[in-house]
Symmetry: C2
Subunit: 430 residues, 2 copies
Amino acid sequence: MSENNDFDVTAEAARVKLAARALARCEREAKDDALHKMADALRERTDDLVAQNALDLERAHERGLEPAFIDRLALDPARVEKMALALEEVASLPDPVGRIERSERRPNGLTVARQRIPLGVIGIIYESRPNVTSDAAGLCLKSGNGVVLKGGSDAYRSNRAVHAALTLGLERSALPPAARGAIGFVDTTDRDAVRVLLGLSEHLDVIIPRGGKRLIRFVHEHARVPVIKHDEGVCHVVVDETARPDRVDAILVNSKAQRPGVCNAAETILFTEKGARVHLGRALGALAAAGVTCHCDARALAIAREAGVPEANLREGGDDAFAREFLSLDVAVGVVDDLDGAIAHIDRFSSQHTEVILTEDYTVSRRFLREVDSSTVIVNASTRFADGGQLGLGAEIGISTTRLHAYGPMGLEELTTTKFVVTGDGQIRS
Amino acid sequence: MSENNDFDVTAEAARVKLAARALARCEREAKDDALHKMADALRERTDDLVAQNALDLERAHERGLEPAFIDRLALDPARVEKMALALEEVASLPDPVGRIERSERRPNGLTVARQRIPLGVIGIIYESRPNVTSDAAGLCLKSGNGVVLKGGSDAYRSNRAVHAALTLGLERSALPPAARGAIGFVDTTDRDAVRVLLGLSEHLDVIIPRGGKRLIRFVHEHARVPVIKHDEGVCHVVVDETARPDRVDAILVNSKAQRPGVCNAAETILFTEKGARVHLGRALGALAAAGVTCHCDARALAIAREAGVPEANLREGGDDAFAREFLSLDVAVGVVDDLDGAIAHIDRFSSQHTEVILTEDYTVSRRFLREVDSSTVIVNASTRFADGGQLGLGAEIGISTTRLHAYGPMGLEELTTTKFVVTGDGQIRS
């Protein structure tokens, strides 16, 4: 069933590693020129991209894949334009490479600083969205990294066409020829290719998997290369009795319903016991009016019914619901005793992505920020701000739920590391 | 042959994980108090430590282990005092946990910052030196991390005694009881314990192996937990014709001979062709006078002999010598065409630890700093400065040759990560 089975993944990674060494030494000007040429090439190839995508879509329909999946897979001229614009936006961002940080003069006169350098070669393993091919390639190129892209086989023809366009752009760019191979592509649908990629510790410096639980688990089990997980988001919003009612309703609805299918949508709402008495009925009414179904534990359900929340929007919930990433207009609702109860609940069920508290109590806000150790903790704003663009990173390659290296939204800087740069005047150690 | 085989490594790690949650929330005052109490307990238990160490030493002599190995293993009251002082020094360092970094007000009024938090639980796998037990425990405690210590079986009784003393200190400290279990110890010499530890991805956030090539390779092959390698140091010093002769001789001798058995000692000296004509004979004479044997490639050997470097200090070298970490008064010497040749040589043979260039040429220095991407690059100073203390980190848990998370010497800050802390006034996303 799979195509191009004799593709040599290892050779591709080795080729990228060599090009990445050259790219690491390129100046911003050349890299930005390449990003613009890549955007131009995408626009120029729009017809081809849409035609190749149609073949993927046809196959997806034949296989009876879900409409939401097919929507993520689909390319049209407007989406191609968006991909091109995204590359141009990356070109406009500052280049982290070469930046000097924490420069210090030591007592013996040595100057010690850290300088940002690319990570090296990054493997990206992703699923159905073809725009990830150009988004990830653009971010890796700007940060001076080689990249080996492995998209889902359902998007194989689309991804291959996007990659071909990007390569055309590189060839026309101001990059030196040696650096133009820095965007690699695993040009096969052979399932074994992922396993091979995960073993290439000599060629790859890190692998970033973006996708569902099954992909993340597979990567975790087989990787011999360091992995930065982009895991699911079981995001919590905690409400206490001091929170402002208008903010509670607006933030809950925004967190859950503004875009329910993404990882920073709220999946669980917790009311402290006192908070439930003040807010639960009204807030669940607002959620119901926004089309949300609330999966309530016993305490929450009793209060919701008493308050007259429409029965059609209520379900019995509990631990199963608390563990779920719904990605739909469904949310788990629970009542906990107090802040300690809320923190204990989050400790147990959180995926370390994003947690919000709605409160006007100074001490409660301070304790929540300090004691909850998810990658993003928020007071009095929507979970939906847990996003690289919203938090000021410019763009994002993913949201890390791995504590090492980068935790939370990852932008260009998180695709770099630092080396120590030391300059002296003949110092020796005594 | 092994002892205490029924020790439950997983249970120990789970216990530490729980304590680490409590420790992460402790203030600096309590942690510093614990470090002082740990130091006191080491001093108080000096006799016991030396007696337990004597049992390890006896076994090491029976097994005919090398004198250098036995020296690293040995404890006496002076070395115990040094361990205690090291803990007190860690207490005096600033606490990175809780520090707010890069705080920014977004256009919509949200305040976005990053706050330093502990990594979680750190596994340290090390070999014969019992002081690593207390040094690593102290750094992990100060940075709010739980630690699971796995020392070499040759130092088992010494490490167990050190750990018992540290635990006594914790029990007497101002830390809350829940946090006092944060220093864990793999209390068995069962070889399988390391393999079990390497699989505990639910309990450990990172593993730092410190030891020889075999240990690093074993860890790399079996770890399901992220690893930060502390690998060998094949450090290079490059000399060009513009370098000042007095600095060349002093820095070469210091880099190689001041302490040849450590990872930041120089292992290869490269002269550019012009540099060799100006410096090679004289510099190798200075090295010979310091007792160093030079393993020269053909070009270097010819010049050295012509210059009358004592034959007793010369050997034929080449690729084998260039790949070696001698850790002795031996060094590989080569002649390369020019700076490009030196950089290409380093690309091929370096272990990404530390590289030095000796030059008075501005452009050469700038190119070297930029194009060599080892974790520490130095101009006109000794390789021996590649050390956390020397570079201003206060203390060091190791020197990472892994590019991810931390690259180069790792201090307290490198044992932490950051979370995003966001505060708002009801902001929702439109």
